[in-house]
């Protein structure tokens, strides 16, 4: 082996020359002959080499073709060479397209080299490779830095919101760093995940939180803070969203929900460039809820009591110190946020690097909440030898999350929003004598400020992720790449409930510490082959990948401390008998083989076919491996002869694709029969732990299979001044993981089974138009998409009714023929009036809500429920306008959603309060039905418990359609002279400026319930209106 290696080493230059010689014959046979056989004179040639931005390039390699002579450009990009007069000079530089320029007796030759590594606008990143945009056969939306959302952005998800048709980005929590759910082309799954696969520089992520448990007596949001926050959005160069099966099948059992490919910035060859970008701004609550104020509360409650809705003991007699607006006490005015990004990039012929540092800090619009991030990145690429290059993309981030106790719970366990909305506004904040927070005698809820200030929680998250690769070129066109990746996250969450709260006082302080580690490791080997033969062009990719995911956590909880001062820093001070300790560990692995062939004939006809074999440890023993094929066809009609005359049409490409992908987010161990902790038994007055079976085993368990058909048309008019695409897709998800109800007499209620199917279909339309291109530039981007979601098959189950939040139970139904999680409740017809004929419903009274009696049995009960809408938007649209005049730019982004519903659970609490003395939304109460003012719309609010079973109704399931002026940004490019500062800019922007909607809650765009396809709004952390001032400097 050694002898051979040595031999190889010696013969390299000869080999290279031979290859170049051979290529010469292929490409330019005539000229090659000329070079070889005609002796020539030498002349002196000089010039400057620049890049497409006009920046001079030092260190560019210049070789005389066919000879072993040449030179490099100096520090100013200049060169001078003595070469034969009819020589051809070959200019090459890492990251740029090599150019050959014939000397042709010229003495000055200036060259502009074009960047090729991420050739913006030309190349699109797809799974395991990249393709020219013109040759893409699948449905891929490619977004570059200039396409991203502008303004304050915490994570990669926010960069693409509203920018790609068919992609729905839903904010689950508006808290800083709050969770986001992304659905690409609808939702196919009920029990498995619906989020797409995120791939960062070739590393598929497990996008779940490291700490999954809850702290004791501290309420957390239904969606965890977004794990993507650890990736600095400013580091991202482009995001490609793979939507159809042809593009995603190469990700096999993880491609069913679409794939989001994130590519981080690479270094720039050339001199060191330093960029500093910074913005700072303030946020305020965008929309405030109108509750009854103290005087309104007093008069309303007393009037309700007078009308028979309460007892004399419940009368409101005093307003203490003018009362308290509890919600206003929670708002933080002008909450600051700031972001600083410093990037160093540079390189030489064989090296390019990017170092990026970031600090982001955001205080929330509610007190005691916030998010901080420190991150650093190094992206490095090095050509080690002629045929071998290595690279790495590694980033590390430290995030500090500060939480407030808020989420889906009520009464004594409530968070701050629920407490503030329900609390008695006639009370003062603190008791004048004791100094403690005032407690209401009638409400079993803690004081909202006690919860906000007395319950504290924060978490420290360290995440390092990155890839290291080595790529070897055997022969031109044939490369092999080994990619190793890792993503390691470690998080510790602390929470403390102190003695200023009811629970803290009773327990003597409650402290909990949760620690979780979530990591995954990837090893991947691929071979890539490009070949062009006459009119046939091939690209073949084949490879294998293995990935392992490991999770472990531990938690400790203690109570009864001698003092609150040590908070969670000394849990050992707590009382031993009340300690709680848990730990767990999970892992799963994936083993896959993949391959793809891209074939182009005559640059007109395109064929792509891919195949992936995925084995996953999650699948049952009978179904360990899944097979995922896809095929796509493309026809570049604009290249046809009959189209050449239609110069107005510059691009016209038809695409069709079909493929199978899978969803393996089915959870671990579900195919096995295992035992886990059961409820404790009591023997000899001591609690004894027990174990109970977790499930009935299912060795047939496998991935959810998705089959998708896609038809698309990419068009471009007037030399691609207007471009865009139209698509139609139909995606069937089969073998849905359903918790199939089995007879409950087995002791289990369900068994996880692959059965059932859901169909998502829709249209996507996008157009990008350079309206004006002169001095005054104006470009518009419009995209919209429709979505139709239908459950096709539930495997014999008639319906699955689920969902509960507080008073509302059995909120949604899954049944064949309707969308997933359709709202299921009662239709309100109006309000019963005095003198109505009550025989139709003998239990009703004047002032009661009148419900639709579906079966006419004169009783309103569960048999009268109807469908009330669903969470799938019928239409999502976004419009971006960019205006530029000289150095001034204006960016306006409008987005909206039509045809979507959401259950407003705070409205349910207003209609059906647990207790007369609860505070509520003002409008329904101030305009309620009274004998003197009989409203046709609002009920009397007397004896609300009688109709509480009808909590989910057409009043409380509201229309959450909206149109929003999302971002307006005015920027100014400061013209700079001189060599030191290369560029400078300043801008102001406003986000979430105006919203038009009929929805009565904080924000129709939020879904605090988690996910994107089942919308329940309860105690939402309010959205902010943000104003920013930003600067950027390039050195």
């Amino acid at each position: 082996m050694e002898r051979r290696a040595r031999k190889l080493h010696v013969s390299k230059p000869f080999l290279l020359s031979l290859i170049l010689f051979a290529l010469m014959f292929v490409n330019r046979p005539v000229q090659a002959a000329g070079v070889l056989f005609t002796p020539l004179q030498n002349i002196r040639v000089s010039g400057t080499v620049k890049d497409d931005a006009g920046v001079t390039l030092p260190g560019v390699n210049i070789r005389v073709k066919g000879q072993n002579t040449g030179g490099t450009t100096d520090a100013n990009g200049n060169y001078t060479l003595n070469v034969p007069e009819n020589a051809t000079l070959v200019f090459s530089f890492l990251g740029y397209v090599t150019q050959e320029v014939a000397v042709n007796n010229r003495s000055t030759i200036n060259v502009t080299l074009l960047s090729n590594v991420r050739n913006l606008g030309e190349v699109v990143v797809v799974g395991y490779g990249s393709v020219k945009k013109r040759d893409v056969t699948g449905s891929v939306t490619s977004l570059k830095r200039e396409d991203f959302n502008q303004g304050a952005v915490t994570s990669a998800d926010q960069l693409i919101a509203g920018k790609a048709s068919g992609v729905q980005v839903v904010q689950n929590s508006a808290e800083p760093g709050g969770g986001i759910s992304v659905n690409i082309r609808g939702s196919g799954s009920i029990n498995a995940g619906n989020n797409p696969l995120y791939v960062v520089d070739g590393l598929p992520l497990d996008n779940s939180a490291a700490v999954t448990g809850s702290s004791a007596n501290f309420l957390k949001s239904n969606a965890p803070r977004n794990p993507l926050n650890s990736i600095n959005p400013a580091d991202i160069q482009s995001i490609e969203i793979l939507k159809d099966a042809s593009a995603t099948a190469i990700y096999g059992s993880r491609g069913a929900n679409g794939v989001v490919l994130i590519t981080t910035r690479s270094g720039r060859n050339g001199a060191l460039r330093i960029n500093y970008d910074s913005y700072g701004g303030v946020q305020n609550v965008a929309k405030k809820l109108q509750l009854l104020n103290a005087t309104e509360y007093q008069s309303t409650i007393n009037a309700l009591i007078d009308a028979g809705g309460g007892t004399a003991a419940q009368r409101v007699n005093t307003i203490n110190n003018g009362g308290t607006d509890w919600l206003a006490q929670l708002y933080r005015r002008n909450a600051p946020l700031q972001n600083h990004n410093l990037a160093f990039s540079g390189g030489s012929e064989n090296t390019s690097y990017l170092i990026s540092l970031n600090y982001f800090n955001q205080d929330g619009v509610l007190i005691n909440s916030g998010y901080d991030r420190f991150s650093a990145r190094i992206n490095l690429e090095q050509r080690v030898a002629k045929k071998f290059r290595v690279g790495m993309n590694i980033s590390t981030a430290y995030s500090k999350d500060r939480y407030v106790s808020n989420g889906f719970d009520l009464n004594e366990r409530a968070g701050i929003l629920y407490a503030a909305i329900n609390y008695d506004p006639t009370l003062s904040i603190r008791n004048a004598t004791t100094g403690r927070y005032t407690l209401s005698q009638d409400l079993n809820i803690d004081n909202p400020l006690a919860i906000a200030n007395g319950k504290t929680s924060f978490s420290n998250l360290y995440r390092t992720l990155g890839t290291v690769f080595g790529e070897y070129t055997f022969i031109p066109g044939l490369t092999a790449k080994l990619n190793l990746g890792g993503d390691i996250a470690s998080q510790r969450t602390d929470a403390y409930v102190d003695r200023t709260t009811i629970e803290g006082l009773a327990a003597g302080g409650i402290g909990s510490v949760l620690q979780g580690n979530n990591s995954n490791y990837l090893a991947e080997a691929t071979v890539n082959y490009n070949k062009v033969v006459d009119k046939h062009a091939f690209n073949v990719v084949a490879g294998a990948t293995a990935q392992r995911f490991i999770f472990d956590d531990v938690s400790a909880e203690a109570r009864s401390f001698p003092s609150d001062a040590t908070v969670t820093d000394n849990l050992g001070l707590g009382t031993l008998s009340s300690n709680r300790v848990t730990s767990s560990k999970l892992n799963n692995s994936l083993l896959s083989y993949l391959g793809r062939i891209n074939y182009t004939f005559n640059d007109k006809y395109l064929l792509t076919t891919s195949f992936r074999i995925d084995g996953s440890s999650r699948f049952g023993s009978n179904n360990k491996y899944g097979y995922f094929p896809s095929v796509a066809l493309g026809w570049k009609i604009d290249q046809e002869n009959f189209m050449k005359n239609l110069t107005a049409i510059s691009t016209f490409k038809l695409r069709a694709s079909w493929g199978k992908t899978g969803n393996q987010e089915i959870g671990n161990y579900l195919s096995l029969a295992t035992f886990s902790a059961g409820n404790s038994a009591v023997f000899n007055d001591t609690q004894v732990s027990t174990t109970t079976p977790s499930r009935i085993e299912n060795p047939d368990l496998k991935w959810e299979a998705s089959e998708q058909l896609n038809f698309g048309l990419d068009y471009g008019f007037l030399k691609d001044r207007i471009t865009g695409s139209i698509e139609w897709y139909s995606k069937d998800t089969r073998d849905l993981l359903l918790n199939l109800p089995i007879p409950r007499e087995t002791g289990f209620t369900t068994r996880i089974t692959n059965i059932g199917s859901v169909r998502n279909t829709g249209f996507e339309f996008s157009v990008n138009s350079l309206n004006l291109t002169g001095k005054f530039k104006w470009t518009t981007n419009l995209n919209f998409s429709t979505l139709n979601n239908t459950v096709k098959n539930l495997g014999g189950i008639s319906s699955i009714i689920s969902g509960s939040a507080g008073t509302a139970t059995n909120i949604s139904i899954i049944q064949e023929g309707s969308p997933l999680y359709s709202f299921y409740g009662y239709r309100v017809l109006g309000v019963w009036q005095t003198g109505d004929d009550f025989t139709a419903n003998p239990t009703a009274r004047p002032g009661y809500l009148k419900f639709f009696d579906k079966n006419g049995d004169k009783v309103i009960n569960a048999d009268d429920r109807v469908l009330l809408g669903d969470s799938f938007p019928g239409l999502i649209y976004a419009l971006t306008n960019n205006f530029t005049y000289k150095n001034v730019g204006l960016y306006v982004f409008i987005e909206g959603v039509k045809g979507v519903n959401m259950l407003n659970n705070n409205l349910v609490d207003t209609y059906f309060p647990a207790n007369l003395k609860r505070n509520r939304l003002a409008e329904p109460l101030l305009n309620r039905w009274t004998a003197a003012n009989p409203s046709q719309v609002y009920p009397a609010f007397i004896n609300t418990g009688a109709q509480a079973a009808q909590a989910v109704n057409s009043y409380t399931v509201e229309d959450a359609s909206y149109i929003r002026l999302n971002t307006v940004k005015l920027s100014y490019n400061i013209p700079v002279r001189g060599k030191k500062i290369k560029s400078a800019g300043i801008y102001v922007s406003g986000q979430n400026l105006a919203t038009i909607t009929d929805y009565s809650g904080f924000d129709p765009a939020l879904n605090p319930n988690g996910g994107a396809n089942f919308r329940v709004d309860w105690n939402a952390y309010p959205s902010a209106r943000t104003f920013l001032l930003g600067v950027s400097i390039g050195l």
Partner: protein
Amino acid sequence: MKNYKYYLLSFLCIVVALPGCKKFLKEDLYSQLAPENFLTTQEGLESVLFASYATTANMLTNNSIYVIGPQEFTTDIMIQSGDNVEATIAQYINFTFHPTLDFLTTNWDPPYQSIRNANIVLENLNNVQVSDAQKNLYRAEARFLRAINYYKLYTFFGPVPIRTSTTQELQLARATDAEMRTYIETELLAVLPDLPEPGKEAAYGRAHTGAARGFLAKFYLNTKQWQKAADMCKAIMDMNRYRLFDNYFTMFRVENERNPEYIWVKPAKASVDRRNANSWINVSFPANFAREPKSGLTFLSTWVNFPNEFRILDSFYNSFEPGDARQELIISSYIDNTGKTISLLNNNDTRSFKYWPDPQAVGAGHGNDIPEIRYADILLARAEALNELNGPSQPALDLINEVRRRAKLGNKQLSDLPTREAFRDHILKERGWEFYSEGQRRMDMIRMDKFISSALARGKSNAKPIHVLFPIPEVALTANPKLVQNPGY
């Protein structure tokens, strides 16, 4: 140039070999236990048996309230108001039962989980290395638990599917009434030889012959098998193990829960997570309760007062004979947070403080065990059985008077209760005064044919004879097509 082919080939070989073999995809279990290594050990099997005990007691969080609740809301003893459950409980009170009603699954699922775990224990006994005596004990305990859970299902829903193994087909039809009765009786009789005598069980809370006989006695009574009931009660009395606790007022307190009257309990232990919680007092405290004047009980800040109010009907409160010590556990007035004394009388608002609050309770979980079968029940049951067999008699009356004396009441005379009906009616009253808040009332009224008539007399016009059985939960029906709903629903 050929060299690259070798490199390529070796690279591809590495690529294929790199991921390794099937072992890579094997699921490693860390936090969960697998049957192969778990059910073959004594600790493992015992742990599953204990899980069956836990779900048999059914005292997780609020279950203590909602297992007893339906047995009392539907009777002349109690009503409820307040909190998010008011609409649901109103349907129990008003006899508008519907298969989607909440708390039905609270009474369907935990018994079947106990039955499943008992079946697992029985099926795996032979895989464990223990002595035959120990195996017999486990077998007897598992069968005991299984039988009493079927008994509870039977009293709530009527005959239900009888599952005796984990390998049966998943969908089973309901047993017939006769099959159900035979099964419960034969199982409980079969375990008697192998269960330890009370006091000899491995730990308090595990099965013993007293409990088995107690359930048999109640079963015979509720199925009107009077002779067998009377005999079984006599057998319990002859064990000379049980006697009435002398102080009714303090019997139900945590410090007295290991008393000689309790035969079988649903155990509770105060803990923050409320896994074995007696939550009755939380719903009995009136609003803003600070102190009870007669006993001096003071509300501790560590306790919780739900806005959920369980209220005793005046008709029941006023039915007590003067001087009845058992009435003292129902409070009629209290002092609230502002120092005001509030009367609970004449408003259907007196409160059952039977499970006197536990000073050790933190939050909503108190540690008072709830008696399912106690000696007073055996005495009154025998009295009732004797009456049904032979009419009023002095021996039967003596049993009643023994209970009355403990309640500081005078004796009844045969002349007071001359007929079978009068005797029976008095026993019903006596049982109400004795067993309120213990989940007995509904079965007593059904057995004595008063359940529906009493409801109608209380103005619940919707009450019909079919309502002696609760509807099978709708979710159970949709999951098992072979289940047939109770008539009338």
